[in-house]
């Protein structure tokens, strides 16, 4: 039982259930299956993004440019759709994922080839991506009537009772889970973050691994860009502004160590769901949406404090054993 409680994912599941239960005490409608499905659907984009951020954070880097990448990819998707409504949507999605990966690879190359600290690189590309949107669109909005019906319909379409948006996030979770646990590159993400020097001695190219992590986060941001723009049916310079903090918050809450090497797909998903439940519950329990930023900030700080405590305790136990011997 004690071991079970120490498991991060199980703790989070309990926390989420407790949270939902508390809300349900006053608003029973919140726990209706249809509403829970809606909450999950609303969190899908955050989950997709958190999966990419997780890979980057595992390698001891950080990607602050994800939201800007999402916005740039999203607006490009909308502009292509507005100019050439005939382009089939699957092709468009593929193009946008590719564009996101290319934008991510810029971060990756700067980190890999020039050894610039990741935070500086992504702070810089964040503003460059946002500025490029302005240059591309001249600050104009792309509204619902300029997008084709097929473009807007895909995330909303229903399949086996759930929206396609939800299914896409489930597919992303499974794909990233397989990548993390069943492939050499997934192991390399953990190895590079856990101990970069040891990783080099086992034949892993640290820089290349980080580059690939950025490509993954970029590709997922590109996918999220299409989903965001088509779901909300509007594209402008400031879409998803500040969302990079939510993504990092989801990862930190999910127990992904900012020092690298520790984390799991389950953690990223549960961390996102935790934030998603809070976000959807705020209007229900009558708290001003303006409070959301402060709540995210508080949750980040609490989560990182809890992470630091569990991580440091591990070290102490080993020392005590050594003394006993």
């Amino acid at each position: 039982m004690a071991k079970l409680l120490k498991n991060r994912e199980i703790l989070l599941v309990f926390a989420i259930i407790a949270l939902v239960f508390l809300i349900a005490l006053r608003f029973p409608g919140f726990v209706e299956p249809a509403n829970l499905a809606r909450v999950y659907n609303d969190t899908s984009i955050l989950i997709i993004l958190a999966l990419g951020q997780m890979a980057v954070i595992l390698t001891r880097c950080i990607d602050l440019s994800m939201a800007a990448n999402l916005a740039l990819s999203g607006i490009v998707a909308a502009m292509i759709n507005a100019a050439f409504p005939g382009v089939p949507i699957p092709l468009l999605i593929l193009a946008v994922v590719g564009l996101g990966a290319v934008l991510g690879s810029i971060n990756g190359l700067l980190v890999w080839k020039l050894d610039i600290p990741p935070i500086v690189v992504t702070l810089g590309t964040l503003t460059i991506f946002r500025g490029s949107i302005f240059l591309l669109s001249n600050g104009a909005w792309i509204n619902a009537h300029q997008m084709s019906d097929a473009f807007k319909a895909l995330p909303r379409a229903s399949f086996a009772g759930f929206a396609v948006l939800s299914w896409l996030s489930v597919m992303a979770i499974i794909a990233v889970y397989l990548l993390m646990t069943r492939t050499p590159i997934g192991r390399a993400f953990f190895a590079v973050g856990g101990n970069p020097h040891a990783a080099v001695y086992t034949g892993i190219d640290v820089g290349r691994t980080r580059f690939l992590a950025y490509c993954l986060s970029g590709a997922l941001a590109g996918l999220a860009g299409y989903l965001w723009v088509s779901r909300y049916a509007v594209a402008y310079v400031d879409i998803a502004a500040g969302f990079e903090l939510d993504i990092i918050a989801a990862c930190v809450i999910g127990g992904i160590s900012i020092a690298g090497g520790i984390g799991s797909v389950g953690g990223a998903v549960l961390g996102s769901l935790f934030l998603g439940v809070i976000k959807n519950a705020l209007p229900v329990i009558n708290i001003s949406p303006f409070a959301q930023l402060a709540i995210s900030g508080t949750v980040i700080i609490i989560a990182v404090a809890v992470n630091a405590r569990t991580e440091s305790r591990k070290g102490r136990v080993i020392l005590k054993k050594a003394e006993a011997v």
Binding site: D115, V120, V121, L123, S288, Q292, L293, I295, G297
Partner: protein, 334 residues
């Protein structure tokens, strides 16, 4: 200024002369760039050289530079503070709240400084008290502090600051020299002396170069870092007073994204983002350069968001160029 040349990698058989060292330094390169931009601007626009115009141009950088001085110390010690723009917002909101309660200028200044100090204390306690990484903590407090302003203000704005409060952002000390410019000059000297001429400054370098070694040499690492975050909060509070006084109003989105410009200014000034080296004169020159570039762009009617592309590219390239340069030189030497 000699500390940064004591890196363990290069130990020449004799020291370079003081003059040749100064010629090759990052600061002299910045000086050349500053003079070039100044010359370009005065060619590009006939209005640039007007003393009042130049005086207006200084407002582009004075507030950010005030924070950049403290941020330089934080970054030299190997930490970072991304919450400064949010501290400006919270201080400004607190001052606006005080105005609605009928506070006068001296009280407003105290409220602004106090809020800044308090925010710095929160950062410092979380980072040194609990030993958390400063980048995550300040990302967290960045949304917490601005979130608090949003809770207090919502979509409203505070105006109605007293007339005497306008002096800090709009007043002039003598002829074209504004209060902000004078404050900038005083703070430059104070921080320059603090970093380069006192024991405290030396401990900041020591921590940035090797925190463990500094700890074993008797430096109270935690306390020094705590003071640095406190100082950054205080400077953000001062900047908030100047900015609020200059704008005459407070919105929760005030100073959005300023943290990026402050970090860019510090890095452009030659402070290593990995900690351990950098100088205050470098930051002063970087402040002048960034201020004049934005002012020049403004004269050429370039929109603000395009300027932000430039600042982002500048941030990356000032770090990338020295790396590429040293690689190219090594390749030539082989």
């Amino acid at each position: 200024m000699a500390e940064q040349h004591l890196s363990p990698r290069l130990i020449p058989d004799r020291l370079q002369s003081r003059s040749s060292r100064m010629l090759k330094s990052w600061e002299s390169l910045l000086l050349v760039v500053a003079i070039l931009i100044f010359a370009l601007n005065s060619f590009a626009s006939p209005y640039f050289l007007d003393p009042w115009n130049l005086s207006d141009a200084t407002f582009n950088f004075t507030e950010k530079a005030l924070i950049a001085f403290a941020m330089a110390l934080v970054i030299i010690s190997g930490e970072i503070d991304l919450s400064v723009a949010s501290i400006i917002a919270l201080s400004s909101t607190a001052m606006g709240l005080a105005v609605t309660m009928g506070a006068d200028t001296p009280v407003l200044v105290l409220v602004g400084l106090g809020t800044g100090l308090f925010c710095g204390m929160v950062n410092g306690l979380l980072i040194t008290g609990l030993g958390l990484p400063s980048i995550v903590v300040t990302i967290g407090t960045m949304s917490l502090f601005r979130g608090l302003s949003f809770i207090i203000l919502g979509d409203k704005a505070y105006t109605g600051y007293p007339e005497s409060f306008a002096f800090f952002g709009q007043g002039y000390v003598w002829w074209v020299f504004s209060f902000e410019l004078a404050l900038f000059a005083v703070c430059a000297v104070v921080f320059g002396v603090l970093l380069h001429k006192t024991n405290f400054g030396r401990t900041v370098y020591a921590i940035g170069n090797n925190q463990t070694a500094a700890l074993f040499s008797g430096v109270r690492v935690g306390r020094v870092k705590f003071i640095l975050f406190l100082l950054t909060g205080l400077m953000a509070g001062i900047a908030s007073i100047c900015l609020t006084s200059r704008l005459g109003s407070t919105r929760p989105s005030i100073a959005l994204g300023v943290e990026l410009e402050v970090v860019t200014m510090v890095v452009l000034g030659g402070v290593s983002i990995l900690g351990g080296s950098g100088t205050i004169p470098g930051v002063v020159l970087a402040a002048f350069i960034m201020g004049m570039v934005t002012f020049g762009f403004g004269l050429l009617n370039v929109p603000g968001i395009v300027m932000s592309i430039f600042i982002g590219a500048l941030l990356i390239s000032v770090i990338a160029l020295p790396i590429l340069w040293s690689r190219a030189r090594r390749r030539m030497a082989q």
